[in-house]
Amino acid sequence: MAQQAPPISSPAPTRVTSVTVDDVPALAAGAAIFGTGGGGAVYTAERGVATAITQHGPVPLLAVDDLGPDDAVIVMSGIGAPTVGIEMLPSTHQVQALLDEAERVAGRRITALMAAEIGGSNGVGPVGWAARLGVAILDADGMGRAFPEATMIAMNVAGVPCEFAIMSDVVGNLAVLKTIDLSWLERHARAITVASGGLCLGAHYLLTAETAKGAVIEGTVSTAIRVGHALLSSSEPVAGVANELGASVLINGKVIDVARHTDGGFVRGSVTIAGTGSDRDRLQRIELQNENLVVIEDGEVIVSVPDLVTIVDGETGHAISTEMLRFGQRVAVLAWACDPLWRTERGLELAGPKAFGYDLPYVPFGGEAVAR
């Protein structure tokens, strides 16, 4: 694919129209921020994307409004355990096999990919897959963050049915799933992932210009890149990231306790942060379930899922995932409002506190979610 240089005479476009190799570190750092503690480590995905873009050129970034009648978008993601994901990396054939099978089942050409979740490695990898496959990437995702289950996706909130799903493993096995709903997809996909050695790539949710509108979270790829650039270029990275996200810094402090255990395939536990500096004498506890879900201070819930909570390194501003949390780390806790879709009745039913087993009413963080 030829590199598309912008015409020299026209003013620089305010919107990002392609993802270049220079954007990859920012995309990775930003996606990690949106991972809210989960979503898997971004490093290997970052290297894979940089390699793919170097070989195949920048990836066109399409807004939902750019989709034409001939466009078809499929959602692609990696499914599996982060521990396996850092050891058994994908094969070069895996995404091509997914795309070919998706086009066969759908009976039409697929012109763009969308990330299921912008948070973590799944927010990064699809850009590289799009580069390899010669298709565009949609500037949107299905979560606006990271979530642990297939049901917790914007299209499911919006009531768009998922007609089929395809899974491919590292050795070349393909499975086509036509489940009656996303709960069954979650169950079957999990079983296939286990049979595949703990790691699969999946494609699902064929979307078009009509079905995507209002059913996906728009603008998240370019937002992740912007947040990442703010993180990497700011002299005060924590403030830079918070500013770009419109996030609040809940506390600056130190990790004084990390309690984690595995339960039903999920990492559950909590982390306690003691304030330092002007936050001295304050304590916050964050409840974890793969992602950071609930923040409690003085017995009060300050933030709860689906609003976003990310623990970042107090100095570098880089996100710290739940498995990397350690006693003694200097951190800042950022919180910001989720997409309005998650605050609907259906959104909260699928991904509110009760969906994670917390008997708490949901209190929106930071008032009304700001419209994009």
Binding site: L89, V170, G197
Partner: protein, 532 residues
């Protein structure tokens, strides 16, 4: 002549100085020296060892061990000098083909190290299922295609730390094909789960064989020249020792031994097991944490020479605060430039014209080398005062960052610039300044234990069996590294859960350590060679 063979010589080859100490059986430093480091390494070691042997005279016959710590391997990678050419074999295709070997290496390091690489069938999934059949012919074809233009072979199989047999099989295939003369580096011996990082460390290890040979030869040469009947050891990243033979096979494990040695030495000299340690040199202050007598290890991937690796390294925080750090006389801003070893000419205290942190400390009343501070302009005086306050604040911040949220840990100060650390510091329960702190690295090398670490993936239901298996392997590795089989013990167990497996799975990582086997003249330590 005494019959006791209770003396150890510790040598630390630093960037500027080669320090040497002699320590007796009771752990007392009985001789010490600082010599300039030489480019050929041997010269500095020779001068250092000769100086301390002169100092102890006839007691030289009591020396039974020589321990060396060096940043030589690190420097070789950073400067891309003396590195071997490596043939890299990855096992596990078609998995991981999305990211071929050395994809993210700096170009100059890749071109000086890589003879060629291949991704072949083999490898395992997390549950032990083969990814694909081992491509034995492919291994031989790849080796033949390089036409002998390589110095070492690196082999990295997917999930080999859990399923090691296949890498071993490939090693013997290659040896049967090209003979035993070419060293082979296996990823299972180098790092934990994390393919790219472990593979990188394995390649670096293979590239360092030549450098390791030079340094081990330098030490053996000096020991032979002096006619010492002593066993030789190398210090490694975690503050423990390995035999020379082990160091020759795992040179990558010496990277990071410098800070580890100063932490261990500080521990020993101060007599504490849990503390924050600060080594203040001419240019930087390196802070580490001593936990149960060992340096705390970093859990984050570490870059060396621009390459991401995951081998274990001490968790070190470096600040640009040293005795030679330059203070701006106008603003009082601190560093990061330093006059370094030229401090004796350039600092104000020594009649020079460059304000340094040493001058700031002298101005504040610290006695340094019996000298008194010359008169300085009021503005410079103010700047120096501001600079000292700023560096105290930075030190306090750093101590607080490393203190594990506790305020009850003492701060042990070692290194030549230790006077920059105030006698009381927020976040530290006490400030301890052990004697001989300026040669703590060499002391650390001489006093270290031998250790080994092993990882194991296991069924959660049988996690105790997994811990037991890993413990057994770690103890074996520690004994190979020179530990006394009677006193070696498990010192650390880490557990991590693995999801998306058919059954709940846990990864355990166990470290064992112990004092070195006690020696007598007729009972030398024999280094067991690991069959590969």
């Amino acid at each position: 002549m005494s019959e006791a063979r209770d003396l150890s010589i510790g040598v630390d080859v630093g960037g500027t100085n080669t320090d040497a100490v002699v320590i007796d059986g009771a752990g007392t430093v009985i001789a010490r020296t600082k010599q300039p480091t030489t480019t050929d390494v041997t010269g500095g070691i020779r001068a250092g060892v000769a100086a301390v042997l002169d100092a102890i005279g006839a007691d030289r016959d009591r020396v039974s061990r020589v321990m060396l710590g060096t940043t030589h391997a690190t420097n070789a990678i950073v400067s891309r000098r003396g590195l071997g050419r490596v043939a890299m074999v990855r096992l596990g295709a078609p998995a991981a083909t999305e990211l071929p070997p050395v994809t993210d290496w700096p170009g100059d390091l890749r071109s000086s190290v890589l003879a060629g690489s291949t991704m072949l069938g083999g490898g395992h999934m997390v549950d032990g299922t083969p990814i694909s059949p081992l491509d034995r012919d492919g291994v031989l074809r790849f080796i033949d295609s390089l036409d002998g233009a390589f110095d070492a072979v690196a082999v990295c199989g997917i999930f080999s730390p859990s399923f090691p047999e296949q890498e071993l099989e490939v090693a013997s295939l290659v040896q049967d094909h090209i003979g035993l003369g070419t060293p082979i580096s296996l990823s299972q011996d180098i790092g934990a789960i994390g393919l790219v990082e472990r593979e990188n460390a394995t390649i670096i290890n293979a590239a360092l064989y030549g450098v390791a040979r030079d340094v081990t030869l330098a030490l053996e040469t000096v020991v032979a020249e002096q006619g010492l009947d002593a066993v030789t050891f190398f210090a490694q990243n975690d503050g423990t020792l390995m035999t020379l033979d082990f160091a020759a096979r795992y040179p990558v494990l010496t990277i990071g031994s410098g800070p580890a040695n100063s932490i261990r030495g500080a521990a020993y000299l101060s007599g504490v097991d849990n503390a924050i340690v600060i080594d203040v040199g001419g240019t930087t202050s390196d802070l580490g944490v001593l936990v149960g007598g060992f340096p705390r290890e970093s859990t984050l991937p570490r870059e060396i020479g621009g390459v991401r690796t995951n081998f274990r390294m001490p968790d070190i925080l470096s600040l640009g605060i040293g005795g030679g750090t330059i203070v701006d006389p106008a603003t009082g801003s601190v560093g990061p430039l330093s006059v370094g070893y030229r401090i004796a000419d350039e600092a104000l205290l020594f009649g020079g014209s460059t304000p340094t942190l040493t001058d700031a400390a002298a101005l504040a009343g610290t006695a340094i080398g019996g000298r008194s501070m010359p008169a300085v302009p009021a503005a410079t005086r103010t700047a120096l005062q501001a600079a000292l306050e700023k560096s105290h604040r930075d030190l306090e911040d750093a101590v607080e960052r490393l203190s594990l949220g506790r305020a009850d840990l003492p701060l042990v100060v070692v290194g030549g610039g230790g006077f920059l650390v105030p006698d009381s510091l927020v976040g530290a329960s006490a400030v301890i300044r052990p004697s001989d702190g300026d040669v703590a690295n060499a002391v650390g090398a001489a006093m270290s234990l031998a250790s080994g670490r092993a990882d194991q993936l296991g069924d959660f239901e049988e996690r105790e069996a997994a811990i037991e298996a890993a413990s057994k392997a770690a103890i074996e590795k520690a004994i190979q590294a020179g530990a006394d089989p009677l006193h070696v013990a498990v010192v650390d167990v880490l557990e991590t859960s693995v999801s998306y497996t058919a059954r709940p799975t846990v990864k355990v990582s166990v470290k064992a350590a112990g004092p070195l086997t006690r020696l007598s003249a007729d009972q030398p330590v024999t280094a067991h060679s690991t069959t590969q």
